[in-house]
């Protein structure tokens, strides 16, 4: 079947074991205020427009009802935009990009399999990420199964919000889970991501019971989810389930998402400087004070 994907990236060495190819799926049910992939939020294609590249030449106005110029400056009415992609062909400065396109799982596998020689020497494979893979469950499961049949080891990076059935099937395929925990406190979780975390934690505990291969990832966002109490709760959770995951790592906040937000015409709900070295060392010593071993993704 077809899925909506927005990127296939080779030589990813920080998203699971060995050298991996990451397939990024469009669409995520969560709305984390710090999201670093805002272009992935909607399930449908998104128009990205880089105004730094635009010379306001007006070529892209032809045949496009979503575009006008005001005082020589190009304006885009995003409601009107059909994401037809004509502007991407016409624009001589490559200022436009339609993010996300439909692709059959078998076609995606054709791309992924290209790097099999590297997976074999490095112990790597495919990582499905996003967006949120469980938001396109059938497509993700088909892709994982196809990859597995092709002798490629598989992983997904997930926020844990998918249905239990999805995780049951994924674990049966021998998937490694890069599992996000954003906040333990349910109320704060809802505030920061738009959703409760009861289901997320329950899925994680299920996977732990099943003996799945799990790597815990904790995006830590200054002044959002990094209070002493937040970290104490995270540490408590990790300590309690210590034998049930391979390792846990901190993903420090950075501002990568802000530039992307501008291009897709939305305002970042959270604007902050990237996590500093001081932030990171504070987090590490807090975890250490609880006797919890964590890695830092750099």
């Amino acid at each position: 079947m077809n899925g909506i994907i927005f990127n296939i990236q080779n030589f990813c060495i920080h998203d699971g074991d060995g050298i991996r190819t990451c397939v990024f799926l469009k669409g995520c049910p969560l709305r984390c205020i710090w999201c670093h992939n805002p272009e992935s939020l909607e399930k449908t294609p998104t128009l990205s427009f880089n105004k730094q590249k635009c010379s306001s030449c007006g070529r892209c106005l032809a045949g496009c009802s979503a575009r006008t110029t005001e005082n020589g400056i190009l304006k885009i009415n995003r409601e009107e935009c059909m994401k037809c992609g004509k502007c991407t062909e016409i624009c001589l400065n490559d200022a436009n990009e339609v993010i996300g396109n439909e692709m059959a799982a078998s076609k995606v596998l054709d791309e992924v399999i290209k790097d099999k020689i590297f997976y074999d020497t490095s112990g790597g494979g495919l990582t499905v990420t996003g967006g949120e893979p469980s938001y396109q469950p059938e497509f993700t499961l088909e892709l994982l199964a196809l990859a597995k049949d092709a002798g490629i080891s598989v992983a997904i990076e997930t926020c844990g919000i998918g249905s239990r059935e999805f995780y049951e099937k994924a674990v049966a395929l021998g998937t490694t889970f890069l599992y996000d925990i954003k906040c333990i406190d349910p109320e704060r979780h809802r505030k920061l991501t738009g959703s409760d975390n009861a289901h997320i934690i329950s899925n994680l505990l299920y996977l732990m019971d099943e003996g799945a291969d799990i790597i815990i990832r904790m995006p830590l966002i200054p002044d959002c989810n990094d209070s002493d109490e937040d970290i104490a709760l995270l540490a408590y959770f990790l300590n309690k389930n210590k034998a049930q995951y391979r390792y846990a790592e901190i993903m420090p906040y950075h501002t990568l998402g802000i530039g992307k937000s501008e291009k897709i015409g939305i305002n970042s709900p959270y604007v902050h400087e990237s996590a500093s070295d001081a932030d990171i060392s504070r987090w590490c010593s807090l975890f250490a004070s609880h006797g919890t071993e964590v890695r830092v993704s750099t």
Binding site: Q9, N10, F11, C12, I13, H14, G18, I19, H36, I90, L92, D94, K114, D115, I117, F118, D120, T121, S122, G123, G124, M251, P252, Y253, H254, T255, L256, I258, G259, E262, S274, A275, S297, T298
Partner: protein
């Protein structure tokens, strides 16, 4: 009155007996120089005599043999009026000699050469003489080889005399160092230095006449050879130094000597030093010295000498890890070569395994067999991008309208893509042939006019055959022509195929008009051609066209013999010349603008056009047959220094390199992204679309980052280096 022999001992020796053969006179020049040139020590007290006269009027270098500076001789005539007549005579005679050389070998391929399509034989080149022949056996051993062979070739008696002079010269310098070290030690106040100088003096009682007995004496021998060979390429240092190394118990003595040597390399020029490798049965030849060398390279962080490490199917993990640790320093050293491919390539041209496994690098990355070959280094270059320009313009240099190459037809009339590709291949063949032929002309000239008695003593075959190193003496005498701008030609061919012949989006006439006007007024066309699929992204259709072009080049080369008695083979390493060739190339269907200083980075993509990451780059270049290349076939991946700071990053690098090698890759170099790269990427994003950086746990293309983040990464990179 100063004696003329002190003013310029080279010329004095050379003009001592004008009735002798040129080659013998060069030997005499060396002999008189050895007795009279200044004896110097490096700041770390190693012998560092440069083979040139005190006033820079003449000297002896590996690329030119005996050289003369007209300007400095003229200065001498003013400083020493009493010798004006003699010096003027020297100058006159040498000028006559040079003119004779020029007359005999007039350059017939000048126009093509000047167009920036090729060159051949313009310079003398690097070499890998067998240092071990003197270090481990002594000059007396070489004298015995001369004695065994000289009677077989009575006509070449002058050649053997010349080689004997060269050997005497090195012994004389050794003896002068012994005396000088003693004298220096006497006046030396620092006890460490004094002890070191006395050890040096003692070593020169034995070397270079007799075999070295420990690491210090081996180092003394090494320094003399290195100086006399023009500070070129030490070759397989960890192999020929190992016998002396293993006789030395004192580990501090060894690390102290390596420390001194690396400072010497850093202060002076030095080219290529090679470590590790395999024997013909694939046994690993790395030893303790191999690791000591990686240690010193890490410790010093110098970018000279160019360190090459030979990898093969049995390279131990311990060595791989030491390599990754060394690369983490950010100097890009060592470069890795794959024995499984290089030896296969050498065996294809008839070099047996026992010799192919003794290959090493000289200069930047040209391949030679240690002490057994003269493989050109390099003989010439062919610019594929320019050949494509000729095919588009029917043999005309589109930069100036000059007709310089063969007519292969007006492409506007070509009905099929295949016809166009044939026109390109014909141009490529013609230009390649010209490069070989021009290289041979110069090789012949050098063979006759630039004898090299010293290298002849250190390269097997010369003394055995009574022939100079430059004149077919070595066991192997193949040539090396380098390919440039391969991907630019491949990308252009593919764009023509796709947009003109397959999709028929544009006609050939439109394209040629657009190219002739440097795309002015053809912006949409330019955009479409520029955004067409490019080599380096693991896209089979583009890659195979590119590989086909290179394949033709290798086939043509092997049909050409070298003057010195081998065949031509090829390789590809652009150094920084690609930019120069780009300037001499007109607009091309890959979107390149007229005179734009941008051509492919050796065997890889045109800078910035490979946007699918290092694995795709590797897959693309693996579509070439690397066992066709007997000269360096250079492939570079650029990484952030950060990658080597983590165990995961190092392991990933090792996996990449191992995969590349086990699927037939020949050479792998890692360069580290510099602040300069990043500043340039900010200004010219188009040329750096392949640059991946890591930001807070995520990788992204640098050019996709917003300005604030870009500045952040730049700042970070500055502090890392």
């Amino acid at each position: 009155m100063t004696d003329i022999v002190k003013i310029d001992p080279f010329l004095y020796g050379y003009f001592l007996d004008e009735t002798l053969e040129h080659g013998e006179r060069v030997g005499l020049a060396l002999l008189y120089a050895s007795k009279n040139i200044e004896i110097k020590f490096s700041r770390r007290l190693l012998p560092e005599t440069a083979f040139e006269s005190k006033y820079g009027s003449s000297g002896y270098s590996p690329s030119e043999g005996l050289w003369v500076s007209d300007e400095n001789i003229l200065k001498l005539t003013e400083e020493f009026p009493e010798y004006r007549e003699t010096l003027n005579k020297y100058l006159r005679e040498l000028k006559l000699f040079k003119d004779k050389a020029k007359r005999l070998f007039c350059d017939s391929t000048e126009t093509l050469d000047r167009s920036g399509a090729e060159w051949g034989g313009g310079w003398g080149g690097h070499s890998n003489p067998d240092y071990g022949r003197i270090i481990n056996y002594g000059t007396d051993h070489i004298r015995s080889i001369i004695a065994e062979n000289r009677d077989k070739y009575p006509d070449e008696a002058w050649f053997y005399r010349s080689c004997s002079y060269a050997l005497d010269a090195i012994d004389i310098i050794g003896e002068r160092y012994r005396l000088s070290a003693l004298e220096k030690a006497e006046n030396c106040e620092k006890s460490d230095d004094k002890a070191f100088l006395l050890r040096v003096a003692k070593a020169f009682e034995t070397v270079p006449k007799k075999p070295a007995y420990d690491f210090t004496s081996a180092m003394c021998s090494f320094m003399l050879i290195f100086a006399l060979d023009g500070s070129d390429s030490p070759g397989r240092f960890d192999q020929y130094m190992y016998p002396a190394y293993s006789k030395t118990e004192n580990k501090e003595e060894i690390s102290d000597l390596l420390d001194r040597l690396w400072d010497y390399f850093h202060d002076h020029r030095s080219w290529n030093l090679c470590i590790s490798g395999s024997d013909e049965n694939w046994n690993d030849e790395s030893n303790r010295l191999t690791y000591d060398i990686l240690d010193i390279v890490r410790k010093k962080g110098y970018n000279t000498p160019n360190l090459t490490c030979r990898i093969h199917r049995n390279t131990p993990d311990k060595l791989w890890n030491a390599i990754a640790d060394t690369l983490a320093t950010g100097t890009g050293l060592p470069a890795l070569y794959n024995d499984d491919v290089v030896c296969a390539a050498l065996e294809k041209i008839g070099i047996p395994p026992e010799d192919s496994h003794d290959y090493c690098m000289n200069g930047c990355n040209q391949i030679d067999i240690l002490g057994k070959s003269h493989m050109g280094l390099e003989d010439g270059e062919v610019v594929f991008a320019k050949c494509l320009e000729f095919a588009l313009h029917n043999g005309v240099n589109a930069m100036n309208g000059e007709k310089v190459s063969i007519k292969t037809g007006d492409p506007r009339t070509f009905a099929t893509y295949e016809r166009f590709e044939r026109a390109f291949m014909d141009q490529l063949e013609y230009v390649t042939y010209n490069s070989c032929s021009s290289a041979n002309t110069y090789q012949h000239l050098r063979g006759v006019f630039e004898p090299h008695p010293f290298r002849s003593c250190l390269i097997e075959g010369c003394l055995e055959k009574g022939r100079d190193y430059r004149n077919g003496g070595p066991l192997y005498n193949h040539g090396q022509i380098l390919a440039e701008g391969i991907a630019d030609a491949g990308d252009s061919l593919y764009a023509v195929k796709k947009l003109v012949y397959d999709e028929k989006k544009y006609t050939m006439s439109e394209l040629i008009d657009a190219l002739s006007k440097n795309f002015e007024g053809y912006e949409q066309l330019h955009h479409d051609f520029k955004n067409c699929e490019k080599f380096g992204n693991d896209i089979e259709n583009v890659d195979w066209i590119t590989a086909r072009a290179l394949n033709r080049f290798f086939t043509v080369l092997k049909r050409n013999n070298t003057y010195r008695g081998g065949v031509f083979t090829g390789g590809c390493s652009t150094f920084n010349r690609a930019a120069g060739y780009g300037c001499q190339t007109a607009a091309l269907p890959n979107g390149k603008l007229k005179g734009e200083p941008l051509l492919a980075d050796s065997i890889a993509a045109t800078p910035g056009r490979d946007t699918n990451g290092p694995t795709a780059q590797i897959k693309s270049v693996l579509r070439y047959n690397h066992t066709d290349a007997c000269s360096g076939f250079v492939f570079q991946n650029k990484f952030e220094k950060k990658m080597f700071n983590s165990e995961k990053g190092k392991a990933s690098f090792i996996a990449l390199a191992k995969t590349f090698f086990s699927y037939g890759g020949q050479q792998y170099t890692v360069t580290v992204v510099s602040p300069k790269d990043l500043l340039d990427a900010k200004e010219h994003p188009d040329n750096h679309r392949n640059l991946i950086v890591r930001v807070g746990g995520y990788s992204d293309y640098f050019v996709n980052l917003n300005e604030a983040l870009q500045d952040n990464v730049i700042k970070r990179t500055f502090t890392e280096i």
